[in-house]
């Protein structure tokens, strides 16, 4: 159940972490409308998964379903490919999270000391630190991981409300509705606006990508 709740609440933090991608390409309207479109299309995938999961509620998710559903002659090879994609995706997701964490930590440092300039290599070194700390926690404190994730789940829901209420209440120069839903931006350096939309989509694709990762506590 924790895995399930986790995927609900990570959408907004994921979107917040990669906001820089969307702002430069297409701006608010592309992100808002592409979010809705991506969610609608993701539902097609989610309903397909629901059918498979109901029939075969097994560990390994997609990796196992491919082995079960494929024509027997190709099942092993296709499961192999799926397994590699899954492993790459989940490990790279950790790397993305390290980047987001490192960006936030250095961003707070810059906010409080405006004379400090963030360099790319600072950012990379902080991601290394995060990866190593996470590894040490997993090796030495693995028995506490579930409690930690339950605690942070409550923290996450609290943060969602605090962040949204604070910025909406404190901001006294809000943008117009046409700015949020209509004005197109293109700062990508490509002259074509189609290109900007294609790049802006990346943020929505990323925000809505963990719904298939349900196997840990749900099954």
């Amino acid at each position: 159940m924790i895995g399930f709740s986790f995927s609900i609440v990570t959408c907004w933090t994921a979107l917040g972490g990669v906001l820089v991608v969307g702002i430069e390409s297409g701006g608010p309207p592309v992100m808002v409308w592409s979010w809705l479109a991506v969610c609608a299309l993701s539902l097609c995938v989610a309903y397909s998964f629901a059918e498979m999961c109901s029939a075969y509620p097994v560990a390994g998710g997609q990796y196992s379903w491919v082995a079960i559903l494929a024509p027997p002659k190709y099942a092993r090879g296709l499961a192999w490919v799926t397994g590699w994609f899954m492993c790459t995706g989940i490990v790279a997701m950790g790397a993305v999270n390290n980047f987001i964490g490192s960006n936030f930590l250095l961003g707070m440092a810059n906010l409080n000391n405006p004379s400090y300039t963030i360099q790319r290599w600072h950012c990379v070194l902080v991601t290394y630190l995060m990866a190593i700390c996470a590894a040490l926690v997993n090796i030495f404190l693995s028995r506490h991981l579930n409690q930690i994730s339950t605690a942070v789940l409550c923290w996450n829901i609290l943060s969602f409300f605090v962040v949204i209420i604070t910025i909406l209440a404190a901001n006294d120069h809000k943008q117009s509705a046409s700015f949020v839903f209509g004005d197109f931006q293109n700062q990508t350096g490509f002259s074509s606006s189609g290109m900007a939309v294609m790049i802006g989509l990346l943020q929505s694709f990323f925000g809505m990508c963990c719904y298939g990762e349900f196997q840990d506590d749900d099954l």
Partner: protein, 307 residues
């Protein structure tokens, strides 16, 4: 215990009856709902968040090029007008992200460990080892850490390192999501399609939803390999395709020299006696007795793929 974490990968009926798993007693009914609900709820919370942030955003150009490097922190600062307020909000999110790093490390290393157990990785025997005393797959954790650090290092090479790694992660996820949809449609086409024994069925809408979902995932997959900023140079290139080229090559070489012979496929439903033994759980070797529908089909299929 670390045991709790590996529970689902090992798939023994016994732990399902212990207290922590009572909340979801019928996975074939409730897990499908969980998948669908997580999309709906994620969509709604994400939408609320995006709208709120965009109503509060200041000058777009200034926010995108903020010296903090994080547009969201700039938006917090513009909205609250105080460094302390913005730092507090940013710190709340940072805590989530820092804890997430542990969960993602657990997920990543567990996926690698389980795949190594099926002989899916190079040096599988090594990476599938579990520390006897602590029940932790230390080598898989170290492997996961090293790959994460390597991916983070792309930022040294390219300004677009951050969005490249986002592309790699999402590309990997989307292709692994696309595979079961492709396989399902393919099986219908070749006549290998199985009756889906589950209680949740899409009926005649199944093929259509599979097809739309697959098209969408393929479109997204192509999109991830687009350059992020023009004009394209080596400094700002999207290394997603290059990264997948390297991963594909490693995968192919491993398949030719090892996987073709030794890869077992997913071992769902079959309990490895040694693992069960080290955890003090009863060894179950036959088909699983109770949980959900369609277990027996799984069992047969796994045996078929192994043979």
């Amino acid at each position: 215990m670390g045991l709790l974490l590996w529970r689902s990968m090992i798939q023994i009926p016994v732990p399902r009856l212990t207290s922590e798993s009572r909340e979801m007693l019928n996975p074939s009914k409730e897990a499908p709902l969980a998948i669908i609900m997580s999309v709906y709820l994620g969509a709604i919370t994400g939408f609320i968040f995006l709208i709120s942030v965009f109503f509060c955003i200041g000058d777009l150009e200034a926010t995108a090029t903020t010296p903090t490097g994080v547009p969201l922190i700039q938006i917090f600062y513009d909205s609250t007008g105080s460094v302390g307020g913005a730092t507090t909000l940013a710190a709340m999110i940072s805590i989530i992200v820092l804890v997430c790093a542990n969960s993602l490390m657990a997920e990543g290393s567990r996926a690698l460990w389980a795949f190594a157990r099926d002989h899916g990785l190079p040096f599988s025997r090594f990476f599938s080892r579990v520390d006897k005393r602590s029940q932790v797959p230390i080598y898989a954790i170290v492997l996961c850490t090293v790959i994460q650090m390597a991916l983070n290092s792309i930022y040294f090479a390219s300004y677009e390192g951050f969005s490249t790694v986002i592309s790699i992660a999402t590309f990997g996820f989307y292709l692994s999501y696309g595979m079961p949809l492709l396989v399902r449609l393919w099986s219908r086409f070749t006549g290998h399609a199985k009756e889906m024994p589950g209680s949740y069925s899409l009926g005649k809408w199944g093929p259509l939803l599979n097809f739309i979902g697959l098209l969408y995932l393929i479109f997204a997959g192509i999109d991830f390999n687009f350059p992020q900023i023009g004009p394209v140079t080596a400094n700002n290139m999207n290394y997603c395709s290059a990264a997948f080229g390297i991963i594909g090559l490693i995968s192919l070489v491993t398949w030719i020299f090892d996987g073709r012979k030794n890869f077992t496929g997913p071992q769902t439903g079959v309990v490895n006696a040694v693992e069960a033994d080290t955890q003090g759980l009863p060894v179950v070797t036959g088909p699983r007795a109770s949980v959900g529908g369609g277990e027996k089909d799984v069992e047969k299929e796994i045996n078929a793929t192994e043979g």
